[in-house]
């Protein structure tokens, strides 16, 4: 049975008992620190992944089912010889395909489904196909959790998208270092590290840069599951 989107997304409001004592009126809450902040940051990535699943299981599947129903209508219209009605219906089906393609583009930006289902290696290989720079991807099949995988993926992809055309080949090499996901981006200008720092830092990750100012290696280390 298909679950309701809210149940699948796991974003149902928490029961009051889980939220702790409520603050006194008129007080300003302190910003979360340490573990609480890190937990909130990880939760954001889980939420992004769940939103992608919700789009897949909800709206997208409904639209796909609608194209089948239109297909049946088109078949009946063609048999009943209703003028060019069947051609109109085909046009609607093409339009729904375009809608689904746009939803797919949005999904990939929220949280790539391939990253969720197959992990960092397949998702980065797919991303590599979208840029003109040759990229070698050497990533183990190991899983690192939605937060670390999400940050690593968007850090690398952001870097790829910022490359100048004509950049020679790069390599992305990932490995597990105990409870840390380490990713080397080899053959890039170290200045690209600045753009990665925000998201990596929010998960208590660190970035090391070797070489430069020309071509160097950026190494991202992110605590992971």
């Amino acid at each position: 049975m298909m679950l309701e989107p809210a149940q699948r997304a796991g974003d149902a409001p928490r029961a009051a008992s889980e939220q702790g004592p409520s603050p006194a009126p008129g007080t300003r809450l302190p910003a979360p620190t340490g573990d609480a902040r890190l937990r909130a940051e990880r939760e954001q990535w889980r939420l992004r992944r769940n939103l992608e699943r919700q789009l897949h299981d909800g709206a997208s599947l409904r639209i796909s089912a609608l194209t089948l129903q239109l297909g049946l209508l088109r078949h009946r219209a063609a048999k009943a010889e209703c003028g060019d009605l069947h051609a109109y219906i085909e046009g609607f089906q093409d339009e729904l395909h375009a809608v689904l393609q746009e939803l797919r583009d949005v999904s990939v930006r929220i949280y790539p489904p391939l990253l969720d289902e197959a992990g960092l290696g397949p998702a980065l290989r797919e991303a590599a196909d979208r840029v003109d720079v040759p990229l070698r991807v050497d990533v183990p099949e190991d899983r690192f959790g939605p937060a670390a995988e999400g940050v690593a993926y968007f850090a690398v992809v952001g870097c790829l998208e910022a490359l100048r055309p004509g950049t020679p080949g790069l390599a992305v090499v990932a490995r597990r270092e105990d409870r840390t996901l380490a990713v080397d981006v080899v053959g890039v200008e170290p200045c690209h590290a600045d753009a990665m720092l925000g998201a990596v830092g929010r998960l208590d990750g660190v970035i090391d840069v070797v070489g430069g100012p020309g071509v160097g290696t950026i190494t991202v280390r992110i605590p992971c599951e």
Binding site: M1, M2, S64, L68, G71, R74, R76, E126, D129, G169
Partner: protein, 221 residues
């Protein structure tokens, strides 16, 4: 044809059953997960099983189910449906089987003609690949292959794209309104430029050669 179907979205499953029946196919059974269709097909013979890739057993139940079905019924055709057309899944599908397999987007089988054409080609042993994905494979080949692909003529690119859809020479000829002999000549030229061996006359081996060429990384993949 006798068709069995596994898909966890009820609305889509019911729509597909109705469309299959309108196209004159017999639906021998439909289930909401992979394990149930394995049980169903142990009792009920079928020509083709249609499988949603992302269904229970999670995360990609369609693929693990297909492996079990291929082992139990080697002659059973397999059509994979998905919301995403990804080369990653195409390669996994081709590891399960390289004959009588298909991979299509869910919203693209929404016509009696396309559905019947897809099933007929799978029934005839072909590999059927979603045209959206085949086009992407040809337009964005991996790594250094981009340079070589750009040396192909417009017509050769059309032929390569249709080969990447898994179409037979006669199928390609029909799509391009040319003779099978002309298609044969284009294929020889393409294989020459890509430095692939065209000595095998078996159609699906040539399709595989083309797909592997477009997909492989320098360091293997």
């Amino acid at each position: 044809m006798r068709v069995a179907l596994a898909e966890d979205g009820a609305l889509f499953r019911e729509g597909l059953v109705m469309l299959l029946e309108a196209a004159g196919h017999e639906v021998v059974g439909c289930t909401a997960d992979g394990d149930s269709i394995v049980e169903l097909l142990a009792e009920e013979p079928a020509d083709i099983a249609i499988l949603d890739i992302r269904m229970p057993p999670e995360p990609d139940g369609g693929l693990v189910t297909a492996e079990r079905l291929r082992a139990a019924h080697p002659g059973l055709g397999l059509l994979f449906l998905s919301h995403y057309a990804e080369s990653h899944y195409l390669m996994r599908i081709l590891q399960i089987g390289t004959e009588s397999v298909g991979y299509r987007l869910k919203e693209k089988v929404g016509s009696v003609d396309v559905l019947s054409d897809t099933l007929a080609r799978i029934g005839a042993g072909e590999i059927v690949i979603e045209p959206v994905l085949a086009r992407r494979l040809v337009e964005r080949p991996r790594g250094e292959r981009k340079g070589i692909i750009s040396t192909l003529s417009e017509r050769e690119l059309d032929v390569l794209r249709l080969m990447a859809e898994g179409r037979s020479n006669n199928g390609i000829a029909g799509q391009l309104f040319v003779t099978p002999k002309a298609v044969e000549k284009h294929i020889a030229n393409i294989f020459g430029k890509l430095n692939l061996h065209a000595d095998t006359t078996e159609h699906h081996r040539r399709v595989l050669a083309v797909l592997t060429y477009l997909r492989s990384q320098r360091n293997g993949d």
